[in-house]
């Protein structure tokens, strides 16, 4: 069934809707936010009812973001109004709709006193069902000597378009027909001139060139049917029962399609695609596994899926979508695959800007917008991480952030289905856009804005669950110690037997940390190993998975480690940083946690110390729990 699967599902829907309904000062922004959830037919209509009560009179005065749409159809379309209006809200456009009395679109167009004329639309959408189209076949048959049925139909259409454009001064959108007739011959249906199925498919084909000649935009329902399946779009029971050609269950998608075309004409389509890198355009984290370890290209189906996604993105950029990269990485590391990986399709030159650093992503996205001189509301951000996606939605509601399926093979389809980049024409300028941005770019970036970070982190309701490592956690600990490169202070690699020995050692403190948040369990994400001796606790190992970077987990960890070390009789913590090629991001880790550097280095280790007697736990958004 066609649904808005790239939008996040609603939670506590009825409470949210009620709050919006009962608000004495209903905010347009709340309506827009509610419309940007994955709503089905009933929820869409419920939101529409309330939004109309709140905004119908006021919103009419919203300048430039207002459409008066005449929906002229040959069958029932009233069940689609709510979905069109809510899709308008989704893009900040208020839409008023007029529908012709059942079946009478032609009379309405011609009659100077009709309700249609009084409504004074600025856009007309012609929605003709397949039976209505195919009736041209019967008309032609019953009038011997008349011309080709398709020609007749084309003449009728052109007359409709002409009146709408020239007399009503409207922009015209023509819906293609849902081809729901049963075939009479089969695979070679096109050889039977009198077949309704054949006729409707020829009609849909002819519409393409006719519409281009007349300056009419299409609403390609036939394409949607071939991509989503007939059952989702057309329910023959309801067609008979209520003359609804478009199935009500598909109404939310239908509404979105209509508004995409309107939005494209109003210049409201998204302009810029911002991509995360690791696990979004290639498999694996380049900072962890290196260029050679990435899953990309020949050799695995998964690697090929990333290549196909890159090809899709590149084709988007070639038709005028600006590309930007936003990734938590060292820039040199992040750029390496572009320079060295043989299967990379995307080149550095395809991107207008690279924003690769360790700042939080909402700030980075704003910086990209400033740099490119575009609004954040024309950006689409694609990231495989649910954490980052939710963070952007929380901190910058105007940025479109699609839910991604967890299989990259479906990424291109998801972006296409979401319709962010709907366009009605392609210009030379579109084709040159990326190079223009590239030439203008400067590397001086605005300071990242992280004012919202703390509020966001609090809203995550994070809990750090810690315990002394036991045999249950041993395998995960071995894995983390073996593969963590970036957030790894000393880089000591212990094998299973060595860790087992440490677990048994009373003078060793071996801790594992698991992070929970409202999205679920992130699993065991950090390990600390301390060695107790002479009143000190030497932090021999401190490492953490990059998945949870930037959430303040290390501060909460320190509170646990300090207490545990005290309990073992230690008076000081001693931190060790041993620089490697990949762990630059933690060079100042212990400084940030309040440790004082010690002058002497031991075997290349930079040491610093924290006095435990005067230690007060650090502020943290993360609750602690032993278990």
């Amino acid at each position: 069934m066609p649904e808005l699967y790239w939008l996040p599902p609603p939670s506590a829907w009825r409470e949210q809707l009620r709050e919006f309904s009962e608000s004495s000062e209903p905010a347009w922004s709340s309506a827009v936010a509610l419309a940007n959830l994955r709503l089905d037919f009933s929820k869409t209509n419920a939101l529409d009812t309330i939004a109309r009560r709140h905004f119908d009179s006021k919103a009419a005065r919203r300048k430039g973001r207002h459409v008066r749409l005449a929906l002229l159809g040959s069958s029932t379309t009233s069940h689609l109004h709510g979905a069109i209006r809510v899709a308008g809200l989704r893009r900040g456009v208020w839409i008023e709709i007029y529908e012709n009395p059942f079946g009478q679109y032609w009379q309405e167009l011609c009659d100077p006193t009709s309700g249609l004329r009084a409504f004074a639309p600025d856009t007309v959408l012609f929605a003709f069902d397949a039976e209505h189209i195919a009736s041209a076949l019967d008309d032609t048959r019953s009038k011997p000597g008349s011309g080709d049925a398709l020609q007749d139909m084309a003449e009728r259409l052109r007359a409709c378009w002409r009146i709408a454009r020239e007399e009503l001064r409207c922009r015209v959108i023509q819906q293609t027909a849902i081809p729901h007739h049963a075939h009479l011959m089969g695979n070679n249906e096109h050889r039977l001139p009198g077949s309704p199925a054949n006729f409707v498919s020829r009609y849909n084909a002819a519409l393409r060139s006719m519409a281009d000649d007349a300056g009419v935009d299409l609403l390609a329902l036939d394409d949607r049917v071939s991509s989503d399946g007939m059952d989702g779009w057309h329910n023959p029971v309801l067609w008979r029962h209520a003359r609804q050609e478009v199935s009500p269950a598909a109404a939310p998608f239908y509404g979105d399609l209509v508004v995409r075309v309107l939005a494209a004409r109003m210049g409201l389509s998204s302009k810029c695609l911002v991509l995360d890198l690791d696990n979004t355009i290639w498999g694996g984290e380049v900072g962890e596994v290196g260029v050679e370890g990435l899953t990309l290209g020949q050799g695995s189906a998964l690697g090929e899926a990333y290549v196909v996604f890159q090809k899709y993105v590149r084709a988007l950029s070639q038709r005028g979508i600006i590309l930007a990269a936003c990734s938590k990485n060292d820039e040199a590391k992040a750029l390496e695959p572009f320079d060295r990986h043989p299967d990379m399709v995307l080149r550095r030159d395809d991107f207008a800007i690279f924003m690769t650093n360790w700042n939080d992503k909402p700030g980075n996205l704003r910086a990209i917008a400033v740099e490119l001189n575009i609004g954040t509301d024309s950006m689409v951000f694609v990231d495989d991480s649910p954490f980052e996606r939710a963070f952007i939605r929380h901190a910058a509601v105007e940025i479109a952030v699609p839910e991604l399926p967890d299989d990259p093979v479906a990424y291109p389809r998801t972006l296409a289905d979401a319709g962010y980049f709907e366009a009605v024409a392609v210009t030379m300028e579109d084709r040159e856009r990326n190079s223009a941005y590239r030439q203008n770019r400067t590397r001086k970036l605005a300071l990242a804005n992280s004012e919202n970070l703390e509020a966001y982190l609090r809203s995550l309701e994070m809990v750090l669950v810690w315990r002394r490592l036991d045999s249950l956690g041993l395998q995960r600990a071995v894995q983390l110690i073996g593969k963590t490169n970036q957030f790894n202070l000393a880089g000591r690699r212990y094998g299973e037997s060595e860790i087992a020995a440490l677990m048994a050692d009373e003078k060793a403190l071996v801790l594992q940390f698991r992070l929970l948040d409202r999205f679920g369990d992130n699993g065991v994400i950090a390990i600390v190993i301390g060695r107790i001796g002479k009143g000190d606790c030497l932090l021999d190992t401190w490492l953490m998975s990059c998945r949870v970077l930037g959430r303040g987990v290390e501060r909460a960890m320190l509170n646990v480690v300090a207490q545990a070390a005290k309990d073992q009789g230690a008076g000081r913590l001693i931190g060790e940083y041993i620089a490697s090629e990949r762990n630059k991001i933690v060079a100042n880790h212990y400084d940030k946690l309040g440790f004082q550097p010690i002058a002497n280095t031991v075997n290349g280790a930079m040491r610093s110390t924290l006095n435990l007697s005067g230690f007060t736990p650090l502020n943290s958004c993360i609750a602690l729990r032993q278990g």
Partner: protein, 82 residues
């Protein structure tokens, strides 16, 4: 799903569509007993019920549909037929 469970689930469906928690459902209730139950809401109910109960109604089912009791029987038969 037994009859009581179907009624309970139907109450949720109706509460969402009519945005009211106080709708009483029993076998004899029909459109004229619930304010706002017009032909548009009727379709909304059918679509929501198809989705909620994973059933598909047939043309003859809809022609014969008069009361909530009819709807519940349809859901039961549909579910059995699967």
């Amino acid at each position: 799903m037994d009859e009581a469970q179907i009624y309970a689930a139907l109450r949720d469906v109706f509460a969402d569509i009519f945005d009211r928690d106080d709708i009483v459902l029993n076998a004899s209730i029909s459109a004229k007993d619930v304010s706002g139950w017009d032909s548009f809401r009727h379709i909304e109910i059918l679509v929501a019920v198809e989705e909620r109960f994973r059933v598909r109604f047939r043309t003859r089912d809809l022609d014969a549909l008069r009361t909530v009791g009819d709807l519940v029987r349809l859901i039961q038969h549909n579910a059995l037929a699967k």
